[in-house]
């Protein structure tokens, strides 16, 4: 009872915010009580070294006082918690002491210092109280933990260019975009060409893409050609990603509504002249399964397009003006269709444009 009383006193003093020196005095006083009360002291094995536990001396005393009557020597976190709640609310003392305290294993009686790896911790594990449990697992309604936006997106106009066609001018674009998470994404791709004010070819693809390896996505979806000729729709499946040596690769197989089949492959690479002046070679080729005279397309290897573009990335890297040279050649039956129409089978262009992403 003595001890209890002194705790009450002490706590009240602290609560009243009296000076630290007084508090310290009081603590020393109590620690003697505790020792006299024969409560075995949970000592750190290496007490004479400068030590964390020793610095916490005052705390240890608190907890000893608190449990002194129960013959305990528990030290540590949870006793402290009880302790300071008492400091601020004198009433709590009664609650804390009224609650039955289960006597723990008396770690302090074991001499840990002689064992290299004791089975029991040198600093005893604090007993858990209901207050601790409540503090440890509060009921939460929030789930907004620390993670960044899970759905992201990327839009790249890889090519947005013009050239001097004879007659008039030509324009072309090639763009791709994704939106989604790290594994599952929706992809969009579009490509097209205009010459002298009319659209020669244009398509839009929409795919579901799933990462199957760190570098490769499998994509499947639809492609719609608005031009040339009447519009047509394809089912598509493909892979895209980065091959070793950092080649950007995409390969897609298409099955058209008319039964036409198409394989498209594209390779791209970046050569850093400087970190902002970048040379970008690319090759794209189309292989068709059937002749399609209405669109001047023959079966087999139909078209190969190669390009070399030199871009300069401006300060924020999102805009990069470029110029380049492209060469396009048609082969096989496709070449025959072209010849029949009086068109050439090869076309070389000097292009200028901008690459941009956001």
């Amino acid at each position: 009872m003595n001890i209890k009383k002194s705790i009450l006193c002490h706590s009240l003093l602290v609560a009243l915010g009296l000076s630290a020196s007084f508090t310290l005095l009081a603590q020393e006083d109590h620690s003697q009580h505790a020792t006299q009360g024969a409560a075995p002291k949970a000592v750190n094995a290496d007490e004479d070294q400068i030590d964390h536990a020793e610095m916490d001396h005052s705390k240890m005393d608190h907890s000893k006082m608190e449990h002194g009557t129960a013959g305990q020597s528990q030290v540590g976190a949870e006793s402290d918690t009880v302790d300071h709640s008492k400091m601020s609310h004198a009433e709590d003392i009664h609650t804390a002491h009224a609650s039955p305290v289960v006597a723990p294993i008396d770690h302090a009686n074991m001499d840990h210092s002689e064992h290299a790896s004791p089975d029991e911790p040198r600093e005893p594990i604090p007993l858990v109280t209901d207050a601790d449990r409540a503090a440890a697992f509060p009921v939460l309604h929030a789930h907004d933990m620390s993670h960044g936006s899970a759905i992201n997106s990327f839009v790249l106009f890889n090519r947005l260019e013009a050239w001097d066609a004879d007659p008039g001018t030509g324009q072309a674009w090639e763009a791709q975009a994704w939106v989604g998470g790290d594994i599952n994404r929706v992809w969009f791709r579009s490509e097209g060409e205009r010459q002298s004010g009319s659209t020669e070819s244009s398509n839009l693809e929409m795919f579901y893409g799933r990462s199957v390896s760190p570098w490769w996505d499998v994509v499947a979806g639809v492609r719609h050609d608005f031009n040339p000729g009447t519009s047509q729709t394809w089912a598509a499946i493909g892979v895209q990603g980065m091959a070793p040596y950092k080649f950007e690769v995409s390969a897609t197989a298409y099955l058209g509504e008319s039964g036409q089949t198409l394989a498209n492959m594209e390779f791209e690479y970046e050569i850093l002249l400087t970190n902002r002046l970048i040379l970008q070679p690319m090759v794209e080729l189309d292989i068709y399964g059937k002749d399609d005279p209405s669109r001047h397309i023959g079966s087999g290897l139909s078209k190969v397009e190669a390009g070399l573009r030199l871009r300069y990335e401006l300060a924020n890297r999102r805009f990069a003006p470029y110029f380049g040279i492209t060469h396009e050649r048609v082969f096989g039956n496709t070449a025959d269709f072209h010849r029949a129409e009086g068109e050439g089978t090869r076309d070389t262009r000097l292009v200028a444009g901008i690459r941009l992403w956001f």
Partner: protein, 605 residues
């Protein structure tokens, strides 16, 4: 003095925090309100800049929006009591501290404060969704807990991207017993990285184009130079190795000075924060790396630095010329400036793209020479734990080394052994690595290291053989013996994983969003083994519990709250599960955490 109350008149703080235009240079915006905090006596007489300090055991902290200007453009920031960095809080070991944290942000922006490295009940830890619900605008949260430790720590928001926006500050806990070292004066040196970008936009940019800030990739010109130096075929094979991995050796940090302005105590390098000394004094510098994404290498040309504490905990003093700070670490360092009036505190980022700096001086306004940044380092295959797989490493050695040459690279003995003979590693603690099944065929794992050792005595990339004595983890030795003493009853091995192209990060290939909590039994002691399977460096922080780092033989070495994990390392530490509840466990590069490198550690009875 421990119980004196420094509470503030209610109603004063809101005005202070509102729309304060905080000048980067000398915190001019806040200096007018000196009466709100207590400055150390020595600081009041001089015009040296001071971060506001609040001492005592009751605190009112007001989180609000402020304008700051570090770059010439006023930008929004999130601040505490209108100050960036947040006020230094000064507690006393053994006190029960009460901190009422108000959210005075507009909109529905939830906020939080996490006390980094502090032992406390879970519901005081300040992680929204794990330890509490967060603090909503107009509301406040009462933090109250007993302070059971001493030393230098820090605090910051644990709500999405708010730390990047400015919500961080130093936390000093005065010990009950005198420290085992003496000093005449002290300064907090808090380092951080500021961006004018909206922090959420920066995260999104990393998702779109992770290599945005890597403006140091090797070019055609570098190839020609390397070929001249090392031969064409060696250079080609080096480029081939990196090319096959689809990675680049200049990838030292995801965000660098291309995006960031580095700050020392909230001051830009040109603003030159300065701290006073009198010749002959022993000055304690409390370094805190409060950056979002930046490792700093710190030195004070002309001065030896004696490191006396790491992460707030005393270590056997070790005197060095330079030390590296992982994000979230703190180091207490004693210097004895004398013989000149000014010394530069130089903190270059690990990638050598920029620096923070300040000056220790006898009078305000002085500055000393600012050293040149070191050459930019290049990662090597050995750095990444690819000793055994890099067949051509002999040949490419010279080509790979931007610093130090081959010898430096071989500092990690175990890695060399493993590289010479994959089966020889086991007796050195560097076994050939087994990877968790969840990494196999996992698109979120773009690399696995094949030879890892603790590399505790490795100064790290860019610091090897630089002619200076550099602090390593092997130098950090707690002055106390293992406070628990038990052998860990089990081992939990976790691999740090990522996909650089996707800017996706995880443990064992499983990002936080789809990971189960890591469960510990109350009272048990476990060994955590971390293996870095990425080419980036990660500071791993466990909330609520100490991380007792082991030496190469598995014995207790140093008590920390944040454990640095360079690429290609395997490091272990002991965790005593003596704090019930749910604890965040994550990479403290906060965009890596936001990108998934996080787990919940749940300690149950």
């Amino acid at each position: 003095m421990s119980n004196d109350t420094n509470s503030h008149a209610p109603g004063v703080l809101p005005q202070v925090s509102r729309r304060k235009f905080v000048q980067g240079l000398a915190l001019g915006g806040v200096a007018a309100s000196t009466s709100l905090w207590r400055l150390p006596a020595h600081a009041q007489q001089a015009q040296f800049p001071q971060i506001p300090m609040l001492a005592g055991n009751q605190f009112d902290l007001s989180i609000g929006a402020s304008r700051v200007n570090f770059t010439g453009r006023p930008r929004p920031a999130i601040t505490v009591n209108g100050s960036l960095p947040a006020p230094i809080l000064r507690w006393r070991e053994g006190d029960t501290v009460s901190l009422r944290v108000h959210n005075r942000l507009s909109g529905d922006l939830q906020t939080s404060v996490h006390w980094h490295g502090i032992l406390l009940p879970s519901n005081m830890d300040g992680v929204p969704g794990m330890s509490f619900n967060g603090i909503y605008p107009g509301e406040y949260y009462d933090y109250k807990f007993k302070v059971r430790q001493s030393g230098t720590y820090w605090y910051h928001s644990h709500s999405l991207h708010q730390e990047q926006a400015g919500l961080y500050g130093a936390l000093i806990i005065d010990p009950r017993e005198p420290a085992p070292y003496q000093y005449d004066r002290e300064h907090v040196v808090l380092l951080s990285d500021w961006t004018d970008l909206d922090p959420a936009a920066l995260f999104k940019r990393l998702k779109k184009m992770p290599e945005y800030d890597n403006l140091y990739m090797r070019t055609v010109g570098d190839f020609i130079n390397d070929a001249k130096r090392d031969g064409f075929s060696n250079t080609l094979s080096d480029r081939g190795m990196w090319g096959r991995m689809r990675m680049t050796p200049t990838d030292i940090s995801d965000v660098n000075a291309n995006t960031y302005t580095y700050l020392m105590n909230g001051t830009t390098p040109s603003g030159n924060w300065s701290g006073e000394f009198k010749p002959g004094e022993k000055v304690l510098l409390r370094f805190v790396n409060a950056a979002n994404m930046t490792y700093f290498d710190i030195r004070i040309p002309g001065l030896k630095m004696t490191v006396v504490a790491a992460d707030g905990q005393y270590i056997h003093p070790v005197t060095v010329d330079e030390f590296r700070m992982a994000v979230a670490e703190t180091f207490d360092v004693i210097v004895e400036p004398d013989g000149q009036d000014a010394f530069t505190i130089f903190a270059q980022d690990m990638g050598r793209t920029g620096y923070a700096r300040g000056t220790l001086s006898t009078r305000p306004g002085l500055e000393a020479e600012i050293p040149a940044r070191d050459p930019r380092p290049l990662l090597t295959m050995e750095d990444m734990g690819h000793g055994s797989s890099a067949k051509s490493s002999e040949g490419s050695c010279g080509a790979n080394m931007g610093e130090g040459g081959c010898g430096a690279n071989m500092g990690a003995k175990a890695a060399v052994v493993a590289s010479a003979d994959p089966h020889a590693g086991h007796d050195m603690g560097a076994s050939s690595v087994e990877h968790p099944a969840s990494e196999n065929g996992n698109p979120l794992v773009d690399m696995q290291s094949s030879a890892t050792s603790p590399k505790l005595d490795d100064p790290g990339i860019g610091l090897r053989n630089n002619g200076r004595k550099v602090l390593t983890y092997a130098d950090l030795k707690s002055i106390f013996p293992d406070p628990d003493g038990r052998e860990p009853s089990r081992t939990i091995e976790l691999h740090l994983t990522g996909n650089m192209e996707k800017f996706a990060w995880s443990f064992n290939g499983i990002p936080f969003a789809s990971a189960e909590p890591l469960k510990l039994k109350y009272g048990e002691r476990v060994r955590v083994v971390l293996v870095n399977d990425t080419m980036m460096q990660h500071p791993i922080h466990l909330h609520g519990l100490w991380s007792d780092v082991e030496d190469e033989n598995g014995a207790f070495q140093v008590r920390k709250h944040t454990v640095d994990m360079p690429p290609g390392t395997r490091r272990s530490y002991r965790v005593r599960a003596d704090a019930l509840g749910r604890w965040a466990y994550h990479c403290h590069l906060l965009y890596h955490m936001d990108g998934g490198m996080m787990r919940e550690v749940r300690i149950e009875e």
